[in-house]
């Protein structure tokens, strides 16, 4: 397998797309799979066409997000391209539109299309619109169709938190409110996941919730309880506190599934980035930057540890971690690169939710770091 990873931060959409793709293909040769990560301030159609002109018949999956992550740092405007080539690689993709109308169905149809290729193992890159209703359902639909024999990794597309429109693509087209997936077989890929948030205070029960809106916690208005847990906070400071103190839902292994508070409504209910199940027992979580960074390092070590000779790394890192850490986010990236190997090319995206799993079953996470490290499969 040969790998090419390149990026461009040029303002011009066509030139940026073309430059990144040409640089990547120069290293990999004619690609079997191209992953395209962009940011929302480009003309996505122009970038898409420019990249397609370079990669030829390559299968492709891509999306736009709040920033791209490269070996040289994080860019809030940029086009990143990874190309993988090799006779041993087998790739199939699927693009499902109308994600918000039927999220479970979109996941199921994507899974059916991937399985129709005959591939029965590999890694599925999952790139949904991060704003669409119920991405957890998309992931469920995909997993329930394909099963645990595959590895699932990815993140939600975003637009620098403008909450307007995101884009997803495969070689068949470019769409919004869609799901792009690519199944890659023939490479060894190991994934890691973690966040570094820790529970604080007493557990709370989500007593009334519907979808992404939590109405009551412990039988009382959600904001009142959340505010009390933090010693009393003004509504107009909610965004700031929400970023620093998400909720976490434990699993039997003690891993916490993070749910990111987004906004308070007039009725004191709280909207979250992702669905919060009714009757879930949650904790308010806290984290300091050092813990978040060290966890990212551990995640990278776990991913790199499963690959004898890492050739590439993909990072799906929540945009809110980047916003929270500010300039310290570069330290997180450095820790990840040190753990994987500074010489290993890396490409990542600041995502709006992350797809990954602590065991076998993928879930949709918030405020989390997901890393995939890949290399050639040993025969």
């Amino acid at each position: 397998m040969k790998v090419g990873i390149a990026y461009s931060t040029l303002d011009d959409s066509r030139r940026a797309g073309r430059m990144a793709a040409e640089e990547a293909v120069k290293s990999s040769g004619e690609p079997a799979l191209t992953l395209l990560f962009t940011t929302d301030d480009y003309d996505q159609e122009v970038v898409y066409e420019a990249v397609k002109e370079v990669i030829g018949a390559s299968k492709m999956a891509g999306f736009c997000a709040g920033g791209i992550v490269t070996a040289d740092g994080v860019f809030r405007q940029g086009v990143g391209v990874c190309t993988l080539s090799g006779d041993e690689l087998r790739v199939v993709t699927s693009l499902q539109r109308g994600l918000s109308v039927d999220p479970r169905g979109a996941g199921r149809r994507a899974g059916e299309e991937l399985l129709a290729s005959g591939l029965d193992q590999g890694t599925v890159f999952v790139l949904p619109d991060g704003f669409a209703a119920n991405i957890s359902e998309v992931v469920r639909g995909l997993y329930n169709t394909m099963g645990p024999e595959f590895r699932y990794v990815g993140g939600g597309a975003g637009d620098n938190l403008r909450f307007f429109k995101t884009y997803q693509s495969t070689e068949t087209g470019l769409a919004s409110d869609a799901l792009a997936v690519a199944l890659l077989d023939g490479a060894t890929i190991q994934t890691g996941i973690g966040h570094g948030w820790k529970p604080t205070g007493d557990p709370l029960v989500i007593t009334a919730a519907e979808g992404k809106r939590v109405f009551e916690i412990d039988g009382r208005p959600a904001f009142d309880v959340y505010s009390e847990c933090l010693g009393g906070i003004p509504v107009d400071k909610f965004a700031e506190y929400g970023m620093r103190y998400p909720l976490g839902i434990p699993d039997i292994s003690g891993n916490y599934l993070i749910r990111d508070p987004l906004a308070v409504n007039d009725d004191q209910s709280i909207d979250f980035v992702t669905e919060v199940p009714r009757n879930a027992v949650v904790s308010v979580m806290e984290g300091d930057v050092a813990d978040l960074i060290e966890t990212a390092r551990s995640v990278a070590q776990a991913a790199a540890g499963g690959v004898a000779e890492p050739q590439f790394a993909f990072l799906f890192d929540c945009i809110s971690r980047c916003l929270l850490m500010g300039e310290e986010f570069e330290r997180e990236l450095k820790a990840i690169r040190e753990a994987i190997g500074m010489e290993v090319p890396i490409l990542g995206s600041l995502t709006f939710g992350e797809v990954g799993s602590y065991a076998d079953v993928p879930l949709f996470h918030n405020k989390t770091t997901v890393i995939a490290v890949g290399g050639s499969r040993k025969l």
């Binding site: 099963g147 529970p199 003690g254 027992v281 079953v361």
Partner: protein, 74 residues
Amino acid sequence: MTQLTAELSILYEISSLAFSDSEEDFIEEAREKATRLFGVRHFVLFLGPKNKRRLAASWGFRHPEDIAKKIGQS
């Protein structure tokens, strides 16, 4: 402490599982909790008396025939 809290939280959440609007919603909630809390790869629920059981829900099976195979293995 974290592990103990997690286990107690899960016990509470399981015990709160109750029939809500429909059988379908109930099964969906049970499946969601089983996969999220325990990370179960496969989930099958049969309903009815012993000789008339019907498959009410399954999870993580690529083909329906895999269900019988998996049950046979366990």
